[in-house]
């Protein structure tokens, strides 16, 4: 079974993040890491490979520095990687991104594509369905469990108050939440081995994609501003009256 995992390098959500002067995600001033949900996708792929054989290919779209994220997935155990890197890509929207990724997927042999349920920078959560629409493969999104018999895939699609069991024939696209597994840490051996694993770099011309970036986007950001900082309100120290004071505040705000 051949699996392609989609990963995206994003600014670390644990630190301050901002848009740059062109109103794009600032990737230069940020500490960039692998998307928080992506490592669960990599782990899911590795577990399926261990059970069913085949190859795990990592596919990413991003600037040169995204190589670090690619290397991490290879160190975890992925076999090879495809890195789409092109100066024209910066400032692309989700629809353009999906067109580029669909073109890259068209060059690869796959039974299953696995992605995180959403990226942890733009958090749109639409890429699996955009790719389903563009590749013609079915999408089974938001999985908390994934299983395959080699010809079909079954997932538990997580809902707020339960889950749905979804099945589809392969090839298919699946996205996963962080409830699905516990990602492994790269071993020292894995880190050493990653250095020798193949990483193919592709440009938009290689993929036959003619237009990308803000000019080709279906949406434009017209303005952005930092949300005014919330200012701290009244803070009291409990000396036996804290609970009453809290209830008093809630009553004054008409929540009781």
């Amino acid at each position: 079974m051949n699996i392609v995992v989609l990963v995206k390098q994003v600014p670390d959500s644990g630190l301050a993040r901002q848009l740059d002067a062109q109103l794009r995600v600032d990737r230069n001033g940020a500490n960039n890491v692998m998307g928080e949900l992506d490592e669960y996708a990599v782990e899911a792929a590795l577990q399926l490979k261990e059970a069913h054989g085949g190859e795990v290919t990592v596919l990413t779209l991003g600037p040169g520095q995204a190589t670090e994220t690619v290397r991490k997935t290879l160190a975890m155990g992925a076999d090879k990687a495809v890195h789409v890197e092109d100066d024209a890509v910066g400032g692309s929207d989700a629809l353009t991104t999906s067109a580029i990724l669909a073109a890259a997927l068209g060059r690869l042999e796959w039974d299953l594509v696995i992605a995180g349920a959403e990226s942890t920078d733009s958090n749109m959560g639409v890429m699996p369905q955009l790719l389903a629409a563009r590749t013609g493969a079915p999408a089974l999104t938001g999985a908390r469990k994934i299983d395959t018999d080699g010809t079909s895939v079954t997932v538990e699609h997580q809902r707020t108050n339960g889950y749905d069991v979804l099945t589809a024939d392969l090839p298919a696209i699946v996205s996963v939440w962080d409830t699905i597994n516990t990602p492994r840490y790269p071993s020292l051996k894995g880190i050493m081995a990653a250095k020798r694993k193949p990483v193919e770099t592709l440009t938009l011309a290689d993929l036959g994609v003619e237009a990308a970036g803000p000019g080709a986007a279906w949406n434009e950001v017209v303005d952005a501003a930092a949300r005014p900082e919330r200012t701290a309100g009244q803070i009291v120290t409990d000396e036996g009256q804290g609970g009453s004071a809290l209830a008093g505040f809630l009553a004054a705000e008409k929540f009781i």
């Binding site: 629409a133 999408a139 949300r227 701290a232 803070i235 929540f255």
Partner: protein, 309 residues
């Protein structure tokens, strides 16, 4: 008036919010797959309801519904097409966008008549204004974007008969499993959310958080630290990788307020915090905070709440 298409999935609060927001932009045509959704559309001021009869649609994942929505959007050519920002709403919007080569915006919290959308980026740290440059304004609206306001009317109803194409039968729903939600409101839609964090210390002691939530008629949430420690089920996690909430009141108990958590709640209207550590970042954003032991503060607050009710 501009024609506004709205997908109404059910009779929930989120759907009512989208209808309320849509009404301010023009004449609303609602798309309903069942009677409850159609009734909600009428109650919240829709001028027209497309009542879709599509036998078997619920046996499959989003594809057959997407096919219906694509057809309706193509023929209605609306000014706006709005859906709730749920997994389903986003999935359907994505399919419509590709099929009609149309722009797509997700998780919008406000919309202007000219199609300019307001969105929170980076967990609410940045407020972004965007516009679609191709097609109509296709957007999913996040929960809590507006207060639902009824405007009962008698919408014209058009029955739309649809069949489920074999191409849209690829993802079968083999089973639907509802896990008991109890009497509490859904986390993503609740007006009041009471959350516990690492400071709660154990699964047993989360009963105190539940009691406070119940006394206020709110939902229970938990920080990632609490769900990772097994104190409370993962599906109640509020934060970057959990549910994003925007309630009228958010009570954070034993939660330090790491960025991961703030990402999921910082657009709440009123924030209240209880924490032992006076330096916890949560106090920097709280409208009211108590520095103290939550096991002292919350029981006393509970007693007072019951007295005042």
């Amino acid at each position: 008036m501009t024609d506004i298409l709205v997908y109404v999935p059910n009779s929930g609060k989120h759907a009512a919010e989208v209808l309320t927001l849509a009404r301010a932009l023009g004449d609303v045509s609602a798309i309903a797959f069942d009677d409850a959704a159609a009734a909600l559309a009428g109650e919240y001021g829709a001028a027209k309801v497309y009542r879709v009869e599509a036998p078997g649609v619920d046996d499959y994942f989003v594809d057959p519904k997407a096919a219906v929505l694509i057809d309706l959007a193509r023929s209605a050519n609306p000014g706006f097409f709005l859906l709730p920002s749920t997994d389903e709403g986003k999935a359907l919007a994505a399919r419509v966008a590709v099929a009609l080569d149309n722009g797509l915006m997700t998780d919008v919290s406000g919309l202007d008549a000219d199609g300019t959308a307001t969105q929170d980026a980076f967990a609410g740290a940045t407020v972004v204004k965007s516009k679609s440059t191709k097609g109509f304004t296709l957007a999913t609206v996040k929960s809590g974007a507006t207060e639902p306001a009824p405007a009962p009317g008698s919408p014209a109803t058009e029955t739309v008969n649809a069949t489920v194409d074999s191409a849209d039968q690829r993802v079968k729903v083999a089973q639907r499993v509802d896990e008991p939600a109890g009497d509490r409101p859904a986390l993503s839609e609740a007006r009041i959310v009471v959350s516990g964090g690492r400071g709660v210390g154990s699964a047993e002691d989360f009963a105190l958080i539940e009691k406070v939530a119940d006394a206020l008629g709110g939902a229970v949430g938990a920080s990632r630290a609490a769900t990772d420690s097994g104190y409370y089920p993962h599906k109640f996690q509020v934060g970057q990788t959990g549910t994003t909430v925007s309630p009228q009141l958010y009570v954070a108990a034993g939660i330090s307020g790491a960025i991961q958590h703030r990402a999921g709640m910082q657009t709440s209207r009123v924030i209240v915090a209880v924490n032992k550590d006076a330096d916890a970042p949560i106090f920097g954003m709280a409208d009211f905070g108590v520095v103290g032991d939550l096991f002292q503060v919350l029981p006393q607050a509970l007693e007072e709440i019951e007295k005042r009710k």
